[in-house]
């Protein structure tokens, strides 16, 4: 068995992308994801890949659009302000059903904000972000190992569903180091997609076209329903199908009287909080969405029948809490605790919130 290596989260993403067969990266510098392009600037030439620093995030995402349409496994990465600029391109990529992987190492916003870790891009990530009726899959790693594993999976998912996949991380996950067992390498050939421009693979019809324009309203409606159906398939796969294992992680929820909900780095802190609660006789549990879209609503809905209350914790003023409320559907109270602007809540602060909820005197 291969040895574990101590790696930064940003670097783990870079290496996992290479192992996934990604040979094209287009990006633009921004903190706190800079280690990722720096890593690939060194690494991609070693495997005859292309690392190209674009003149902007807008250009970078459109280079991704082009490379994806030409059949490559391709990735871009950025942090919040840069991902905002990518939204136009992501809308086109989703509309044209082009597979690609987009990494957001989230930092404090709005505007320039700061470079400290945050989760305030949840809405942008899970609601589509750009214009039009579309969805992107959103994976939320909580360790450096998962930065690697989920990036590797992201390429498979992107190809399987012909859809952009977002890896939503944050400044801590990007900067921290943990031991990683690197995933198995994939073999990938830019000629394996029959729909790709310039492909040598056998085609269905005559020429291949990558487009998002449907002047005829009926055709656009048809296209949008087609996308919608695809999104339904994806949702079902995560809820009860082959991707169920990638949807959500639960911890000590069976007898939990209070269920904590958090994703990404917050879920690690919440795990410590649950341990501390249990030691103090508080029956706390944890639900940690690993995939933010599709959202593991059913798991939360089922728990709503058993537990007494939910506490959602985020590094934002409250974004995912809306999805939790939709899932719980008013059956049990859903409370929120957040820190924002780049502040990370401590286990003690959260414990204090739990205390207030379970011992309201």
């Amino acid at each position: 068995m291969a040895d574990k290596v101590l790696m930064k989260g940003n670097e783990a993403i870079g290496e996992a992308a290479v192992l996934a067969g990604c040979r094209y990266y287009f990006g633009y510098p921004i903190t706190p994801q800079s280690e990722l392009p720096a890593y690939l600037a060194r690494r991609l030439p070693e495997v005859e890949g292309v690392f190209l620093q674009a003149e902007s995030e807008i250009a970078a995402i459109n280079m991704v659009y082009g490379a994806a349409s030409a059949g490559a496994r391709v990735m871009t990465s950025s942090s919040s302000p840069g991902v905002s600029l990518k939204q136009e391109g992501i809308s086109y990529i989703a509309g044209a059903e082009m597979p690609c992987v987009i990494v957001n190492v989230v930092r404090g916003g709005p505007g320039l904000g700061n470079i400290s870790p945050a989760q305030s891009d949840y809405w942008q990530a899970t609601r589509g972000g750009g214009h039009g009726d579309y969805r992107t899959l959103v994976l939320a790693p909580n360790s450096v190992q998962e930065m690697a594993d989920m990036t590797r999976h992201a390429f498979e998912l992107a190809d399987r569903f012909r859809n952009p996949v977002l890896v939503l991380s944050d400044g801590i996950l990007g900067q921290m180091m943990e031991p990683v067992l690197l995933p198995e390498p994939a073999t990938y050939d830019i000629n394996q997609k029959p729909w790709a421009l310039g492909t040598t693979a056998p085609r269905k019809g005559g020429r291949n076209l990558c487009s998002t324009i449907f002047l005829d309203v009926e055709l656009l409606e048809e296209h949008n329903w087609h996308l919608y159906q695809k999104y339904q398939v994806i949702t079902d796969e995560f809820a009860k199908g082959s991707l169920k294992h990638m949807a959500v992680e639960t911890h000590e929820v069976e007898d939990a009287e209070i269920v904590l909900v958090g994703y990404g780095i917050i879920s690690r802190i919440l795990k410590t909080v649950v341990e501390k609660c249990r030691k103090r006789g508080i029956k706390a549990g944890l639900v940690r969405p690993k995939c933010l879209w599709p959202f593991p609503s059913q798991v939360l809905a089922d728990l709503a029948a058993k537990t007494k209350q939910f506490l959602v914790v985020e590094m934002s003023c409250g974004q995912m809490v809306e999805d939790v409320k939709l899932a719980v559907d008013g059956k049990k109270p859903v409370y929120f605790f957040g820190r924002t602007g780049g502040t990370v809540p401590s286990d003690f602060e959260i414990l204090n919130e739990v205390d207030k909820l379970v011992r309201p005197d």
Binding site: P29, A38, Q53, E55
Partner: protein, 250 residues
Amino acid sequence: MEQVFARPKCMSKTPFHYCPGCDHGVVHRLVGECLDELEVGDKAIGVAPVGCSVFAYDYFAFDFNQAAHGRAPAVATGIKRVRPDHIVFTYQGDGDLAAIGTAEIVHAANRGEKITVIFINNAIYGMTGGQMAPTTLIGMKTATSPYGRDAQLCGHPIRVSELLATLEAPVYVTRVAVNTPANLMKAKKALKNAFRLQKEGKGFSFVEVVSICPTNWGKSPVDAHKWLAEKMLPVFPLGTYKDSTGIENS
């Protein structure tokens, strides 16, 4: 007694956060002196997008707008259209102006916006830790060109002054440096020309300052200035590329 080294009136007391020896501070001071000498310090509005100079608003005492990466010329356009009697300038890095903001600078110049643009060309992305800029020299190693900038892959360093000088509208386009006392004096003159043209409502003025980034170049300030003279100036020759009002000869 005349106080020679007094801080310009239009500048604040906040000490610079720049790395020791960085040219940003020097150019800030020149800007302050020029605005004072033209007696427009109280009518100036600055626009600084991201880059090491994103906190420029801390160092000047007049109004400021902190803009998004690359967008300062567009933001300045908005300000100047609302306040045509003010002296509006942008202060931008090479990553900012010559990469992500290429569209904004070309079109603000092409419209002949009556603003002044100060362009700090240090051949690198300073603030984000030393990535390749559009102005990075061929063969130069940076965080994102670890094998040296390759013209086949990344093209050649962009000469923005030469590019903008091909447009009809700009009235003044010049490239200066602050690496020697003589060049520093010329740089100050250029900045003053640029602001005077704006004060007189003449049109778009542009001053490129070839600068150093000792930190990300991995050089001492002295070595960096030497490197600037030896390597950068041949690629970015100093001089005035457009002067349609003849201000330099008046």
